[in-house]
Amino acid sequence: MTSQVKPGDRLPQVTLFDGAPNKPVRIDELCAGKSVVIVGVPGAFTPTCHSSHLPGFVADFDKLKAKGVDLVICVAVNDPFVMAAWAGALGSGDKVLMLADSRAEFAKALGMDIDLTAVLGSVRCRRFSMHVVDNVVKSVNAEEDSSKVDASSSCRLLTKI
């Protein structure tokens, strides 16, 4: 198992999907030269992700931009159609880019994978937030308990940027 990503690490060269299986995006190419916030969540439409975690980043989008953040990305181990539908339901629009880590490759490369097979049917992504500048990780805030939002919240991240 990969050890968990930490400040100073470079983003892995992994392909995620933007809205459909035929719309691949290399995360490192997307983040090159930019200040990016990446939020990892266990599941689209799951209670905490839907009511607490993501809405915070949508609401704090302008504050993040004021701190120089160019892009906010949310990643989950869900297929691209589910992620697109979730973006619509959240009204995240052009504030948070929802990318599908369909095969958990990104979660595993970051050491952020968690086995939620019993509840959700597969390996999923732990709850975390991360600030990355030009593909170099600046801060990582992982929740110890992925069912809660505390360390990984948008307001906590704002204090670290």
Binding site: P21, G43, A44, F45, T46, P47, H50, V77, N78, D79, F81, V82, A84, A85, W86, A89, A100, S102, R103, A104, T117, V119, L120, G121, S122
Partner: protein, 186 residues
């Protein structure tokens, strides 16, 4: 009256065991005349476990399977056909309609809400693909959606016994598994 799927045959290699026993781990095929296995799937945000044999006992039901909640064909055509024709299905003696997919219950509930399925089509999560694998109705969509999914199928079940089973030969299309097609044979 038994009816074989007219759009694709399912070649089974082993018969289902007696009702009440879990199916062996090897893939096999559910076919007309078989009793549903005593498997537990999950329904709803409360993550309620439902036993298939109990769920379908004493009722005339429809169970249709889709490759993925929120995927194009499933969303544009397949689920809406059952929501729209629900009353016609009831008029033909169907007492309950279920949709099954290898998606978690949160995704299934959101999809139900997005399609106005509440009170008409109930959503079953075969979260770990145990039913579709055991029934020979699984589809490897790892390259597209990340894992095993359900084939596109529809079953008519009477008192827990499969009376009709139709499987789409091309899972990206919905033809014989649509509600209006099924109505013609009920």
């Amino acid at each position: 009256m038994h009816r074989l799927g007219f759009c694709a045959g399912q070649l089974g290699s082993l018969r289902l065991r007696l009702a009440g026993q879990l199916l062996p781990a090897r893939a096999m095929s559910l076919k007309v005349g078989d009793k549903l296995p005593a498997m537990e799937l999950v329904e709803g945000l409360e993550m309620k476990k439902v036993n298939l044999q109990e769920l379908f006992a004493g009722q005339r039901s429809i169970l249709f399977g889709v490759p993925g909640a929120f995927t194009p064909t499933c969303s544009r055509v397949h689920l809406p056909s059952y929501v729209r024709d629900y009353d016609k299905l009831k008029a033909k003696g169907i007492s309950q309609v279920f949709c099954l997919a290898v998606n978690d219950p949160f995704v299934m509930q959101a999809w139900s809400d997005a399609n106005g399925a509440e009170g008409k089509v109930r959503m079953l999560s075969d979260t770990q693909a145990i039913f579709v694998e055991a029934a020979g109705l699984s589809l490897d969509l790892s390259h597209l959606l990340g894992g095993l999914r359900a084939k596109r199928f529809v079953m008519v079940i009477e008192d827990g016994v499969v009376k009709q089973l139709d499987v789409e030969p091309d899972p990206t299309k919905a033809t014989c598994t649509l509600a209006d097609q099924l109505l013609q044979s009920l």
